[in-house]
Symmetry: C2
Amino acid sequence: MSKEIISRAENYSQWYNDIIKKAGLAENSPVRGCMVIKPNGFAVWEKMQAALDKMFKDTGHVNAYFPLFIPKSFFSKEASHVEGFAKECAVVTHYRLKNAEDGSGVVVDETAKLEEELIVRPTSETIIWDTYRNWIQSYRDLPILINQWANVVRWEMRTRLFLRTTEFLWQEGHTAHATRDEAIEETEKMLNVYTEFAEKFMAIPVLRGIKTPNERFAGAEETYCIEALMQDGKALQAGTSHFLGQNFAKAFDVKFTNKEGKSDYVWASSWGVSTRLMGALIMAHSDDKGFVVPPKLAPIQVVIIPIHKTEAELETINLKVKEIKQSLEKKGISVKYDNDESQKPGWKFAEYELKGIPLRIAIGPRDIQNNTLEIARRDTLEKATYQQDDIANKVLNLLENIQANLYQKALDFRENNTFHANTWDEFVDIIENKGGFVYAHWDGTDETEQKIKELTKATIRCIPLDCKEENGLCILTGKPSSRRVVFAKAY
Amino acid sequence: MSKEIISRAENYSQWYNDIIKKAGLAENSPVRGCMVIKPNGFAVWEKMQAALDKMFKDTGHVNAYFPLFIPKSFFSKEASHVEGFAKECAVVTHYRLKNAEDGSGVVVDETAKLEEELIVRPTSETIIWDTYRNWIQSYRDLPILINQWANVVRWEMRTRLFLRTTEFLWQEGHTAHATRDEAIEETEKMLNVYTEFAEKFMAIPVLRGIKTPNERFAGAEETYCIEALMQDGKALQAGTSHFLGQNFAKAFDVKFTNKEGKSDYVWASSWGVSTRLMGALIMAHSDDKGFVVPPKLAPIQVVIIPIHKTEAELETINLKVKEIKQSLEKKGISVKYDNDESQKPGWKFAEYELKGIPLRIAIGPRDIQNNTLEIARRDTLEKATYQQDDIANKVLNLLENIQANLYQKALDFRENNTFHANTWDEFVDIIENKGGFVYAHWDGTDETEQKIKELTKATIRCIPLDCKEENGLCILTGKPSSRRVVFAKAY
């Protein structure tokens, strides 16, 4: 019944690929590292976009669009940004092809060489701050609260569908403020928006924290992040929000006259989430039968399947389903009725389990007689018979219940896989044999962080925002530490 | 009051640029030919996207996403496509930068040269049909009805904001069918969707027709188009829908087993509209006072401005406006209340006229007393006083009225600027001195079409779908013709 999906226990990595393939979410393209997002996957991404976009607008942001290409020289203007972003990237050097002289196809026209190479944006701080320079003169022009939905390219050596691809889709917010405090407030506000989205829509609990200097965004003064735990005990960074200080304003000479009439550099934040969230969604909830999608992000929330032997039975069922479908749709529930006769119900059951439709309704001649129907939940795989009366509210309740249950399951999993390590041996044992989040003391140095990574492959996911002060000794060096940080192996 | 907008009569081209600049719709970026779409412009584009996306989905289409990059060799596979598209394009040749040895910044790492260059997609038929090959085996896999929203790049030599830019945003539908008839039906269906969108949402009447072979999409068997008339008498191609025959299926070897069990190549259509529509929208309706947006595409449909002297008056007005705003929003009307005290009402009036808000409501102390308010229409610039009772329905009616009026005005303009020419002299006189659409006889040859273009700059916009048979003589060669085609100078 599981249609060739390998189990998580047997091969987690293969299971992830199987889900993506069998649920029709994405596939590799002929272009190295670039994926095709297939209709079933894109429909989920669209639901994510719609929810996020509404949250951005509700917090006062507007959308805009900046160029795909960035002049090479822009990257050199912010010293640490160039180190982080201008290296592995797609470089446009020419703007014309011509017919090959031997008739074999087309070749690059060497006479059409750009004076300055263009970089396909890996992130847009540079071109946006170059633009903001002309938009900002006075504190009256601030704040600027802009988001863009865009594709970006980072030339990754090892790629995995959704998790790490050369081209990916994302949103990037870029805001400009008159004061340091306001920019920090914005950075934290957007971290909260991401947290709410992850928890309420994706049904994934996340740790909120700040990155160590070593893991900080190139050009940021502080990087805030949300970190989620996957079913194999590895962490996944699900979103970041950066306080950029005045770094980009200085690099691109963006000054304004403040309320006191003095000239100052503008303060900035940037924040983004990407199609990587699709990877998180798949790995957080899916099981050995296929994809599991939280109802709030499911393009189809309910599938209805008729169980019949004769044409007459089907006709009766069709009529009843039409009625049920309308009553569900009136409540804003998205419904698919699959009465395609070329496939048997059993095949359909497995197929929709695979694709993660939250609820499956089956209805046969006896149900028609008894005014009943059978509902199966994708999350628990439980089936139960319901009276048809008031069915829309029953389905609504079930969908809410599934949404809450998926979150609770993920939260329980995280709690069962969160550990405190006080010694090096304990730490290594957990990282190697259990996985999960490990709270441990760290002496605060880059060297120790790097050394731990070399020895165990675990990285500091974040310094949690809600972590209380606690004196202790660094697990590696024994030097004093005043709070625990969270380690994990990560995607 | 017009805030430095030049008049259409004085300089139409400058007027267009002024509107875009002063209404904050877009601007040129530091990257040659690429634009920044500013929040005010992007908000209109988002309304267009939402309306189109719904129409696509209502006609059975789903969204997906294909890679930005296309291997160079793909373009050589379809003979006429390569001529049309693989020439002026952005070519990625390298995937890494490195620090310059002299410390001057970053330079291309010559060791990171791609084996095969990648082209930034100018359109996606090639990569999509290469992908479809693996998706289609049997007639049961058909039809495939996919759309993608994406950015594309065509290296244009002369660019103009929205109308012709190196990078632009668009949607491209790519469908696959089992039969020729079904593919043609789809091509025509999408032309109808575009027509409905242009007329009902953009309030722009369009001519529906087919392109001459010379103006056909590179790789198509037939290109259908909608053509709109701008206020300067020039035509603008607003959308195209292509019947691709089996050309791309043959080029990418996409075969299927039909119902009869025989192998055949798949039939295709593709269709697209782009941010160019923003240019059409601006030029169709705007006036010497600024941007004019049809209510259905206006991000803000109503702006409310308080007229007051004292703080106490403002407080009373605030309370009343809160009530009015809620009643409008309940009807789905988008409302902005601008009670910013740093600007005078007169300044605001001009500002919102410039930005094209369809309705402006002004409300002062006397209105509070009399239970009235003043409403100004952006389209006619008429002002009238209304009782506040049932205001939401009154505003809804006015918005519908504006939408209809803008369409009617554009239709009247087109009718007044549509001509029939029967002789060469007549034709040249109209093209040179009047502009507009000119119905004239043409002998059906490429040579004549080209010659007319050279002599007058007028091109055949389309062979109208609803054109009746009519015997006549070609205006240039005097050879026989069986129907008139439509000529115009065009954007």
